[in-house]
C-alpha cells in the first residue's frame, strides 16, 4: 500500500447515520500519517467501533470521504478491495473468531488468503503465540479459550500478515496488567516496523503515558486530547 503525501488515512467530513436516525459519527475529519500510532478514546457508544469499521470498509459512510493510502475505499471493488484488506489487520471487539477451529487455524487464515507459504505461516503462528503467552494453546479449540485468550488470538490474527495498517478495538478489555503489557509491546513493535496502528480504547492505562496522538470521540464528534510528540 503506497502512502499519499505521508498520510495513511484521510477522513474528510465523514458522518455515519444508522437507521432510523442514530448519528454515530458527525463530520469527522482527521489525517493519520503512515507509521503513526494513534489512540482513539471515548466512552462506550461514542462511535469508536464505527470509526474503525469505516476504515476497514465493513461499513460505508453516510457522507464524506475516506482515503487509505491515497485511495477512496468506497470505490474499491473486487480484487483491489481484497488486496487492500489484506494490508489492513483488524482486531474486532467481538473477536470474529472461528470458534470450532484451532487457535493456529484462526491465526493462519489471514496469511492463507494472501497465499503465504505453509512453512512461513507455521513459523509466524508459533512466533506470535510465544509473544502473546499462548504457546501452549496452538492446537486448542478457540471456542474453549477464556475471553482474554480469545482476545489475544484475535490480535495475533490481526498482525499475522504484517499489515501496513492495524486497527484494534479495545485490545485490553479482558486482560490483566502483565498481558496488557505484552499486547502493547507487540503493537509497538508492529508500529516500529512501519505499520500505522490505531487503537480504540477506553482503558486509560494504555495511553496514559504515551507519546502518541490521542483523540476523543464524544457524541460522534472528534476532539483532540493530546498532540503526539515527535518520535
Amino acid at each position: 500500500m503506497s502512502e499519499s503525501n505521508g498520510a495513511m488515512i484521510e477522513m474528510i467530513k465523514v458522518s455515519k447515520i444508522y437507521q432510523p436516525d442514530i448519528r454515530a459519527l458527525s463530520d469527522v475529519s482527521v489525517s493519520i500519517a503512515q507509521g503513526e500510532m494513534f489512540f482513539l478514546i471515548g466512552m462506550s457508544g461514542a462511535g469508536k467501533t464505527t470509526f474503525l469499521k469505516l476504515l476497514c470498509n465493513m461499513e460505508t459512510p453516510t457522507n464524506g470521504l475516506i482515503e487509505i493510502a491515497g485511495r477512496d475505499i468506497q470505490k474499491l471493488r473486487g480484487k483491489t478491495l481484497a488486496r487492500m484488506r489484506q494490508k489492513i489487520g483488524v482486531a474486532y471487539q467481538d473477536f470474529k473468531l472461528l470458534t470450532d477451529r484451532t487457535v493456529a487455524e484462526n491465526i493462519a487464515i489471514s496469511m492463507e488468503v494472501s497465499y503465504k507459504k505453509p512453512q512461513h505461516i507455521k513459523k509466524r503462528v508459533r512466533d506470535l503465540l510465544d509473544r502473546l503467552a499462548l504457546a501452549d494453546k496452538h492446537d486448542a479449540i478457540t471456542g474453549e479459550l477464556s475471553r482474554g485468550e480469545q482476545q489475544r488470538v484475535a490480535l495475533a490474527r490481526a498482525v499475522a500478515n504484517s499489515p501496513t495498517l492495524i486497527l484494534v478495538d479495545e485490545p485490553t478489555g479482558n486482560l490483566d496488567a502483565t498481558t496488557t503489557r505484552r499486547v502493547m509491546d507487540l503493537l509497538t513493535k508492529c508500529n516500529h516496523s512501519g505499520a500505522t496502528v490505531i487503537i480504540a480504547t477506553h482503558d486509560d492505562s494504555i495511553y496514559r503515558d504515551t507519546q502518541h496522538r490521542i483523540m476523543e470521540l464524544r457524541s460522534g464528534k472528534l476532539h483532540l486530547i493530546r498532540e503526539g510528540l515527535p518520535q
Binding site: 483488524v90 492463507e112 488468503v113 507459504k117
Partner: protein
Amino acid sequence: MSFWLAVLRQVARNLRQTWPSQFMTLLTVSLSVLIFAFFYLVYMNMLGVGDKLGDDLRLIVYLEEEPGPEMQEQLRRKILAFDEVEQIRFISKAEAYQRFADQLGNDRDVLDDMPRDFLPASIEVVPLKNLRSLSQVKLFSDYLARLPGTLKVQYGQDWIERFYYFTRLLSIVVLLSGGLLIMTTVFMVSYTIRLTILGRQAELELLRLVGATNNYIRTPFLIEGVLQGILGSTVGIISLYTLFHWIKLRFSGPGILTIFEFSFFQGPTVATIIFISVLLCTVGSYLSMQKFLRI
C-alpha cells in the same frame, strides 16, 4: 501457498465438516443418473432392435391373380411411384407353393392332395432403410392395398405397431427421467451448497474481512459442485454397468435377450452423461452462490 492449494484445502475442510449432507447429495445425484441412464440404455437398445427388425422388414402384397410380364411392369411402376424401394420381387403361385413345401420340410406330404396353385401370387417389397417410421410403413401399406388386383398387404402390422409404440413410450420415459435428472441434480446440489453457505456465514464474512478474493471464496463451492457431478455420475454409471451385467448373466438362457445383442453405452456416451452431470451440478452450485453468497 498457491491459489489452488489454498482452495483445495478449503474444499477438503468443508467436505470433512459437511460430509453427511454432501453424501446425501452424492447419493441423489447417483440415483438420478442411474434412473436416467437405465431408461436411456433400454431406449438405445430398443432402437438397435428396431433397426434390426427394420432390416428384415418386407411388405407382402397378395394378388388376386398371377400378373403377366406387362402387368408386372405396370405394378412395378406404380410401386416406384410411391417411393424408391430396395427390392421388388414377384412370386408366382408355383413359387409360393414350392416355398411353402420347403418350409414344411418332412411334412410336405400334407400338400399332396392340394392343387399346386392354391396359394396366391404375391409381390415382396423391401422398403428403403429410410422408410422406417410406423406412419410411413402404414402409408405405404395402404397405398399398396389400393393397387388394382391386390387381395391384402401383410408386414406383421400388430407386432411392429406394438414395438414402435413401446419405443415411443420409452422415449417419453427417457425425456421425463432426463428432466427429473436435471431438476433433482440442480436442486439437490444448490440446496447442499446453500446449507453449506448458510452454515459458514461467520467464516465467509471473516474471509471477506481479511482480504480473501471473490475467487478464493467462491471457487471451493464450484469445485464441490464439480466433484458432486463427477462422483455422482460415475457411481451412477458404474451401478448401471453392474446391473446390466447382472441382468445379462441372470437372463442368459433362451429368451428375448439372446435373440438380440444388447450392448452397454459406448465411451463417448458415458463421457457425455458424466459431462452433463458435472455441468448440472456446477450450475446448481453457481445458482446457490449467486443467491446466497453476496461478496
